[in-house]
């Protein structure tokens, strides 16, 4: 008789304990880890994959940089951005004609331990790993987003890609004989020497060798995990992925086999004054564990930052005035928490892209020019970026060579009257005769609001625009398949060279390439082909100026904004210098105080 009574009494208690356990497992466990050895950052999106071949967005890049490494990496403190050897022993030896790269690969570096290797012990890297990694990347079946970085550049690589189309689908044929076939322009001469032969001299090719797409992957790991490879990153980087809880948290722990990274000893006087050279020459990383929390909304991230749960955070637009005063300094109550503010150009471009294969938008240049003039970008800057940025006049952002602050697009000002005149000249006075256009954007509050603002501006000249929100995967799919009329887009530099932006309007890069507008102008393409093989100098800059003028006149895009990031961090996070290309290089950070 007693037992059921006790059982009934304790059942709610057990249920309570159980539900606490379940809830506890779903919410961040802020109490874990030793203070002083843990970095806590944020990702504002769900991470899709850890496969370097799929590292197409900045969130994937931030995560992959912790585990994977490439031949080269960006110097942490140097500005303008420069590369330095990472898995390579030295910078490439480039032939006089600029087409042949000889690269010495370090053979004293090992992959992290993983069951994929014999005995679970990671082996030493070699030049063949790079060749394999690139072959895997360009294999059609990998479905990489990164083919464009090698397309047409390396001798024989396009033939390899064409041959991969005939192979049975993955994972039935993971490591086929095709991979043993030699590619003329991509060879490992021995374990420590690579020879890369380019079809033309591409001065920016060294930057491509520092991209996450070009990371070293071990064929044993790809073979072992097959389709699950994207969930099992195994690299040579400073951290190993300890835990990946989808939609919640990524946890990295120090890679015990990482011994080849050292804190830079070169920096500017300002770096020295900011104490950024105090750890010169010390072995990396300083932090034992890095936790990246995933937020789909900015508010929880912001509130957790204010509570001290995160070490670093961007400022959501609606909280900007809460953190920054009108003089662009940090507000007292935020500064009192031990928070500092850093700014940097993001090397990016926000733009509105017209689909040039659309029968109306593609055919009427004056219509596009009118829409560009009717778009009130200053208000966009004020409302959606809190003034953090400048109006874009061309495709090249500040701090990228070729940027000219005096350049003005003839359609890069807000002029409604002129827009109306151009619209009439296009044959659509007051918008008469025009269909309603669809503006595609991502289903988020801010993106929808920006779309509504665009529609409001266009309505002022009689052009009707409907805002269509969709999910991120649908957005990418529709961009690639050209199923849109106008789309809001952005591009962040993969490498600090103007070519990375110029190629966005290069005709042969039409979708599935990165030329989302499907823009085609033979004069632009010829100039691009010349400029992309030149090093920076007056000749190249002259070509770039002409390309900018063509793009401005044709208006396949509305150039909107080049953003400036404002990042907050607690003073306990030391060695922090914002880096626009290599985001979140946690291995350089250190915790100098305790978390309250």
């Amino acid at each position: 008789m007693t037992k059921p009574v006790w059982g009934a009494l304790f059942r709610p208690l057990w249920l309570g304990i159980l539900s606490m356990g379940i809830l506890g497992s779903c919410t961040p466990d802020w109490g874990r880890g030793e203070p002083g050895s843990v970095y806590r950052g944020a990702l504002i999106a769900n991470l899709k994959t850890f496969d370097p071949a799929q590292a197409s967005d900045s969130y994937s890049n931030q995560s992959q940089f912790q585990v994977y490494e490439a031949l080269y990496e960006y110097k942490y403190l140097a500005r303008p951005y420069e590369i330095q050897p990472c898995l390579a022993a030295a910078l490439p030896e480039v032939s006089a004609d600029g087409r042949v790269y000889i690269i010495r690969v370090r053979t004293d570096i090992e992959f992290q331990d993983d069951p994929a290797f014999p005995g679970g012990k990671g082996r030493r890297i070699n030049a063949h790993d790079f060749v394999y990694s690139i072959k895997r990347l360009v294999d059609v079946r990998t479905q990489t987003y990164g083919w464009w970085i090698f397309d047409g550049k390396v001798a024989g690589l396009n033939d390899f890609r064409a041959a991969s189309e005939k192979l049975p689908p993955l994972p039935d044929s993971v490591h086929p004989a095709l991979y043993d076939r030699e590619v003329a322009g991509l060879r490992a001469l021995d374990d420590s020497t690579l020879r890369i032969e380019l079809t033309r001299p591409y001065p920016y090719f060294k930057y491509i060798l520092a991209m996450p797409y070009a990371a070293f992957v071990a064929h044993e790991v790809v073979d072992h995990y097959g389709p699950e490879f994207l969930n099992h990153p195994v690299g040579t980087g400073p951290y190993v992925l300890k835990e990946w809880r989808r939609g919640l948290r990524l946890t990295f722990e120090r890679n015990p086999k990482y011994r080849h990274g050292f804190y830079p000893s070169e920096g500017t006087a300002e770096d020295s004054a900011n104490g950024l050279l105090a750890d010169s020459g010390k072995a990396l990383p300083f932090i034992d564990r890095a936790e990246l929390y995933i937020y789909n909304e900015t508010q929880p991230m912001w509130l957790n930052f204010l509570r001290g749960n995160l070490d670093r955070s961007s400022i959501p637009k609606d909280n900007y005035s809460q953190a920054v005063d009108p003089e662009r300094g940090l507000r007292g109550e935020i500064a009192e928490k031990g928070v500092t503010l850093t700014r940097m150009w993001q090397l990016d471009l926000i733009y509105m892209c017209f689909n040039m294969i659309d029968p109306v938008l593609g055919k009427h240049k004056k219509l596009r020019q009118a829409m560009s003039l009717a778009y009130d970008v200053e208000t966009v800057l004020d409302r959606f970026y809190n003034g953090r940025g400048i109006r874009a006049q061309s495709f090249i952002p500040p701090e990228i060579s070729g940027f000219d602050s005096s350049f003005r697009s003839p359609y890069g000002t807000y002029d409604v009257e002129r827009a109306r005149r151009l619209l009439a000249e296009a044959g659509f006075p007051g918008g008469k005769g025009l269909p309603a256009f669809s503006y595609l954007t991502i289903a988020s509050t801010e993106m929808r609001q920006r779309g509504e603002h665009f529609a409001q501006n266009m309505a002022a000249i009689g052009v009707k625009v409907n805002v269509e929100s969709c999910t991120w995967p649908e957005y990418l799919e529709r961009m690639q398949n050209r199923k849109f009329q106008i789309v809001g887009a952005s591009w962040m530099a993969d490498y600090p060279d103007p070519e990375n932006f110029m190629q966005l309007l290069y005709g042969p890069n039409k979708p599935p390439g990165e030329n989302n507008a499907s823009y085609q102008n033979d004069a632009y393409d010829r100039l691009f082909e010349k400029a992309s093989v030149l090093s920076d100098g007056p000749e190249r800059f002259a070509l770039i100026e002409r390309m900018k003028a063509i793009a401005a006149e044709d208006a396949p895009w509305i150039f909107v904004v080049h953003r400036q990031a404002a990042v907050l961090s607690y003073k306990r996070l030391g060695n922090l210098k914002s880096h626009a290309v290599a985001e979140s290089p946690i291995k350089y950070y250190k915790i100098v105080g305790t978390r309250k």
Binding site: T298, Q299, W302, P316, K317, D318, N319, Y320, S321, Q322, R383, A443, S444, T445, E446, R448, Q449, E452, H453, A455, Q456, A459, N466, V467, E468, S469, C470
Partner: protein, 282 residues
Amino acid sequence: MRDLWARIRRRFGRDVLATTAVVVIALYILAGLLALAGVLAPGYSQQIGEAYAPPSAAHPLGLDVLGRSVWERVVQGSRVALIVGFFSTVIAIPLGTVLGLVAGYFRGWMDAFVVWLYSTLDAVPTILLLLALALVLPTGKGLATVCIALGVTSWVSTCRFVRGEVIRQKELDYVRAARSVGATDSRILFVHLLPNVLHLVLVQASLVFVYSIKSEVILSYLGVGVQNFPSWGVMIDDARLELVGRGVWWQFAAATAALFVLVLAFNLFNDALKDALDPKEG
């Protein structure tokens, strides 16, 4: 039938709260119709002042992020709410009633099929089902999709009630009498049984109406509802960020209050209607 309406009139005539609810609903309907006709709040998408201007004499409910009148957007939101409520109910109620009548009257495999259908539909979490339908329907995202998605998912309770009532009533004398004089099945269903379950259908209709309005707000808040048009859900979504970051409360308050008052009015109306149609009540 005449008796039914007389009971409703009597009940509402002596219940002040219910009468107030009817007046409030009528005002919303009037506002929605005037907005639809372009008489009320036609400039809801235009910038009429500074962004985030607080409530004032010129703008009684303030302005939003794009300097648009919150009052006009609330009015247009009532138009969306009523359209969604009306069309979802028009789809769901006939569907639920006919399926309930057929299942309860014929029983056998038809009943088994209908019960299986609504049990399966009921087992899927409603919001997930609505999200999935909103994403896959060929009408694309927007008002029509929301109406269809809500209509085809909201008939279950109506069907269940009608089925149960028909099972009970088909054994009563008036049905037997109709059958004995040679009435066809369809005549028995729609001429004899339907008027006798109509009180349930009416109550269900008002419940589906208010459920659809609430669901539309949730779907629009989640970004899969109404597109290109002010909806209370979209307004609450906008206000969510500016409320915490900027202390802009007026859009949130206006949209929430509009929804609250309409739903409250409908709930009071439903209660009174249920009482009026309850055979046990005099």
